[in-house]
Each structure stands twice: as structure tokens, then as C-alpha cells.
């Protein structure tokens, strides 16, 4: 591994207290790359457990940006993360889980990169650190687009990048005493202000009966798969 002894990789998860499979892959990748791995999340107190789980598979320390459980929009999330990175950094690599676009988290990595003046590559299925550069492969349907970037960089990764390890119990026990810093950032005005959530009609358990092939194909078209 070519990273220097005090090289660091930062892992961020910002969707509150449930870690997504993309984020798990990001942490696994960080641990594989080596160097000091810091995991960071923005979320309520319960999110500490998630950080401990990630330290159980090898992250060295954690940072919890504690909220009271309310959602933060992408801009405020990114701003809080940027503040934390500036306080803890510098980092060679900042990894995010590539949330789907409909989740606020999707934009955070890109916003963080711009704020820190770093290159960003998203949707990654493969990462190879080569000295002071990184060669990545983005997932595009059935193929891969190859992109390179100099380090330090921000990368967002997709599930399937690797197979995250199952934590060992000795690892979990050690994680209990690894350092975990808690910061309480102030929640700014939300510029994408959630007003309400609605469950659309027809979300019940009843399957909609389709009478013929034409009906089936019409559904397929509406789902964008036909």
C-alpha cells in the first residue's frame, strides 16, 4: 500500500441511523485501502451504534455529528460534514455511499467536494489507489466508465464494490473502547424544506390483478423497463 503512515481515509454516512449497503461497502473499501480510517455520520444519538459497528470491522475512530433526529437537507448536511473535515483533516480520500438520487444523501458527496475544492467521482464499482492518483470504474448499465483523479479526492461508491466482511466479536469488543467524538452542529434553515410525506394511494398489500398481456406490458412501460 502506497499511502503514508499518517494517511487517512474518511468515511461519511449521513442518512441518519440506518447504514445503507452502499455505505457499508464504502467502509469496507476504506479498511481495505488501509491507513487510518475515520467514520463519520450525521444523525441522532442512536447512530453511535452504527459507528461502533464500523469500528468493529476496522475503522479506527468515529465522529458523530449529533442531531435530534430531524432530517437535514443535502446542503446543510454537506456543510456540517465540511466543518468536521476541516477540523479533523486533512484526508487523502473521502468516501461516501452512493445513495439513490431520491434520497437527500445523493448530493452530499458532490457538495462536500466543491466546498473543499476536491475532485469528485460518483457511482463507483471499483477503486484502485495508485500512488497519488486513484483509478475508478463507474457503473453505467452493463458497462464501466473509467475515470481517474488525483488525490485527495471524494469518491461515492455503489454496493457491489466489494463484499463487506462480517465483524468478529473481538473486533466488536475492541470497538467499544475506540475513540468516538460527538459534536452537535447547529441546524441551519432548510433550503429544501420538507413540508409533508404522503403515501400514494394503492400502496396496500393487495396485488393489482392484470387481466392480459397488454395490461402487463402497459405496467412495464410505466415502470420504465419495457
Amino acid at each position: 500500500m502506497v499511502l503514508t503512515a499518517d494517511a487517512q481515509a474518511l468515511e461519511t454516512k449521513h442518512l441518519g441511523f440506518t447504514i445503507s449497503p452502499h455505505e457499508e461497502c464504502a467502509v469496507e473499501e476504506a479498511v481495505r485501502i488501509g491507513g487510518e480510517v475515520v467514520v463519520l455520520t450525521l444523525g441522532p444519538a442512536e447512530a453511535e451504534e452504527q459507528l461502533r459497528d464500523q469500528m468493529a470491522i476496522g475503522a479506527d475512530r468515529g465522529i458523530l455529528l449529533k442531531t435530534n433526529g430531524e432530517e437535514w437537507d443535502a446542503q446543510s448536511t454537506a456543510a456540517a460534514i465540511v466543518d468536521a473535515i476541516r477540523a479533523e483533516g486533512p484526508f487523502d480520500l473521502i468516501l461516501f455511499g452512493n445513495e439513490s438520487a431520491d434520497a437527500a444523501g445523493f448530493q452530499v458527496g458532490i457538495r462536500v467536494a466543491h466546498a473543499l475544492g476536491l475532485p469528485v467521482v460518483t457511482g463507483l464499482k471499483k477503486i484502485e489507489v495508485q500512488g497519488d492518483r486513484v483509478r475508478c470504474e463507474r457503473d453505467v448499465g452493463g458497462a464501466r466508465d473509467v475515470v481517474e483523479a488525483p488525490l485527495p479526492a471524494v469518491l461515492t461508491v455503489l454496493e457491489g464494490l466489494n463484499l463487506p466482511r462480517y465483524p468478529s466479536v473481538p473486533g466488536r469488543l475492541r470497538a467499544k473502547s475506540k475513540p468516538l467524538a460527538v459534536v452537535e452542529p447547529a441546524r441551519p434553515e432548510q433550503r429544501l424544506e420538507k413540508l409533508r410525506l404522503v403515501v400514494p394511494e394503492g400502496q396496500g398489500k393487495q396485488a393489482e390483478i392484470l387481466e392480459n398481456a397488454a395490461a402487463v406490458v402497459a405496467v412495464m412501460q410505466s415502470l420504465g423497463v419495457a
Binding site: I110, E137, E208
Partner: protein, 271 residues
């Protein structure tokens, strides 16, 4: 004036159609290798009340960059906008959010299939290469066929298929939809398909947009592998089959008739 980023595809055409309901639209595109940060700079430099794109991977990424550059909020996968209140879909359509977009220009991407496609004649904008990451080359996947894990559509067969040869119609439908073939544990135990095709607790967990379960009764362990799919269509002769409790769409019938009928209809509408 609304600037709409487009590519040569159906989703972009839909985005243009949607944008036109808000005002006059300039459809713009770029030439050359994809370089999101650079392209976004060019977009951000345009005078506009709103910058719009399709809710595709690229559209969403570009708008996110634009939002970062302009330090403005961006709403992804919007289905409607009224003043500064946007309605957008989350979790593949199972949740709808209304939110106020406090920003200018308004940055949004359009959810698929909320508007009819419109004709457009795109302007090619110039994007100055600023040294940010750009696509160097495209590498095709080495394995032929779509992987079960990543496939957007999975057509899956269970005990009802009856034999290894019976899977021919399953493969046909999967091929037409550009999807992968899956199966239940009964099928792998019977040796009709390899374990790599197995969907379930002890096989692959899929995350497709559509999972079509043919002749699968729907044991809990199987559903555990299929529940990652956004929508499930079940085809079974038994209306009491447990799979229907987890399905979004149901066809009560014999898959040996239904599946070829669907394939035929697909061919027909594609002309």
C-alpha cells in the same frame, strides 16, 4: 427562461415536455467525454429561472454539481412543481414528498414517466476542460449477460416451470427486457438452473426495478431475496399462493401461456 440539459433519449424528451409547462425552454447538451464538473460549470453560467434535467444518473449528477457550484438547493425526481413547492418521489415511488424549494435558479430533475415526451432541438454548449475527472474510456462487462444482482429486471421461474427446458420462455422474456434470469431454490435443487441464478435468502438478493415471479409459490426465504425489487409481478395458477401477499401485480394463469403472451405483446408494441 428554463435551461434543460438533454441527451438523446426518451427521459430527456420527457424532461423537456415537463419543463415546457413552466415556460420557455432552451434544450442544451454537450459534446465530448463526460466531465460532470466542467459541464455543470457551463450549465451554471447560463441565465435561467430554472435549470432542469431528466432524473437519470447523469441528470441527477449534473444538477447536484450545479447546486454545489451555485450553493443552491436541488430537488431530484420531481413529479410536479407549483410556485416554489415541489412534489417528488422517493423510494421508487412508495413515498411522495412535498417540499419548498428556497432557491434561485430552481434546480430540479424530472421523475421518469410523469410527462409525455416532447420534440427538441438541442444547442451544444461549450464546456471548458477544467481538469476535473472525466471519462477516459468505456469498458464492457466481461461476463456476457446481465448479472442477477445488478439487473433492472429479473424474470424468475419456480417449481411451476417444470423442467430445465421449460426455462426457455423465461430466458426469452428476460432477453426482451434486457434482464436476468432467476429461479427459486426448488429449481436449483432439482438441477434445472445453477445456484448462481437462485434468488432468495441463501442465494442472491436482487434490487431490480421489476421482479417477475413465474410459478413461484413465494416461500419466506425466497421473498427475502426478492423484496429488494421495487415492484413484483407474480404469475401463478394458484390464487392462494403466498407470493401474492408480497406482489404488486398479479396474473392468475399458467406461466406456460402467460409468459410467451407477454413476450409476443412486447414484440408487437415495439413494432
Amino acid at each position: 427562461m428554463i435551461v434543460c440539459f438533454v441527451e438523446d433519449d426518451e427521459l430527456s424528451a420527457q424532461a423537456v415536455g415537463f419543463a415546457r409547462t413552466l415556460g420557455e425552454v432552451r434544450a442544451v447538451t454537450f459534446a465530448g467525454a463526460y466531465q460532470p464538473a466542467a459541464w455543470a460549470k457551463a450549465l451554471a453560467a447560463q441565465e435561467a429561472e430554472a435549470i432542469v434535467a431528466a432524473g437519470s444518473d447523469r441528470g441527477n449528477e449534473l444538477l447536484a454539481h450545479v447546486g454545489a457550484l451555485l450553493d443552491q438547493p436541488f430537488a431530484a425526481n420531481v413529479t410536479a412543481i407549483d410556485g416554489d413547492v415541489v412534489t417528488r418521489v422517493r423510494w421508487g415511488g412508495s413515498l411522495v414528498e412535498e417540499a419548498r424549494l428556497h432557491g434561485a435558479p430552481k434546480l430540479l430533475t424530472v421523475a421518469p414517466h410523469v410527462h409525455a415526451p416532447a420534440e427538441f432541438d438541442p444547442e451544444v454548449l461549450e464546456a471548458v476542460d477544467d481538469g476535473s475527472p472525466k471519462v477516459l474510456e468505456r469498458v464492457e462487462e466481461s461476463s456476457g449477460g446481465v448479472s442477477l444482482r445488478d439487473a433492472k429486471v429479473v424474470v424468475s421461474g419456480g417449481r411451476g416451470v417444470g423442467s430445465s427446458e421449460g426455462f426457455a420462455i423465461i430466458e426469452e422474456l428476460a432477453g426482451l427486457l434486457g434482464g436476468a434470469v432467476g429461479c427459486s431454490r426448488v429449481v436449483t435443487s432439482a438441477g434445472w438452473r445453477p445456484h448462481a441464478d437462485q434468488v432468495g435468502q441463501t442465494g442472491t438478493k436482487i434490487s431490480a426495478d421489476l421482479y417477475i415471479a413465474c410459478g413461484i409459490s413465494g416461500a419466506t426465504q425466497h421473498i427475502a431475496g426478492a423484496k429488494g425489487a421495487k415492484k413484483i409481478l407474480a404469475i401463478n395458477t394458484d390464487p392462494e399462493a403466498p407470493i401474492f401477499a408480497s406482489a404488486d401485480y398479479a396474473v392468475i394463469g399458467d406461466l406456460h401461456e402467460v409468459v410467451p403472451a407477454i413476450s409476443a405483446e412486447l414484440r408487437r408494441v415495439r413494432g
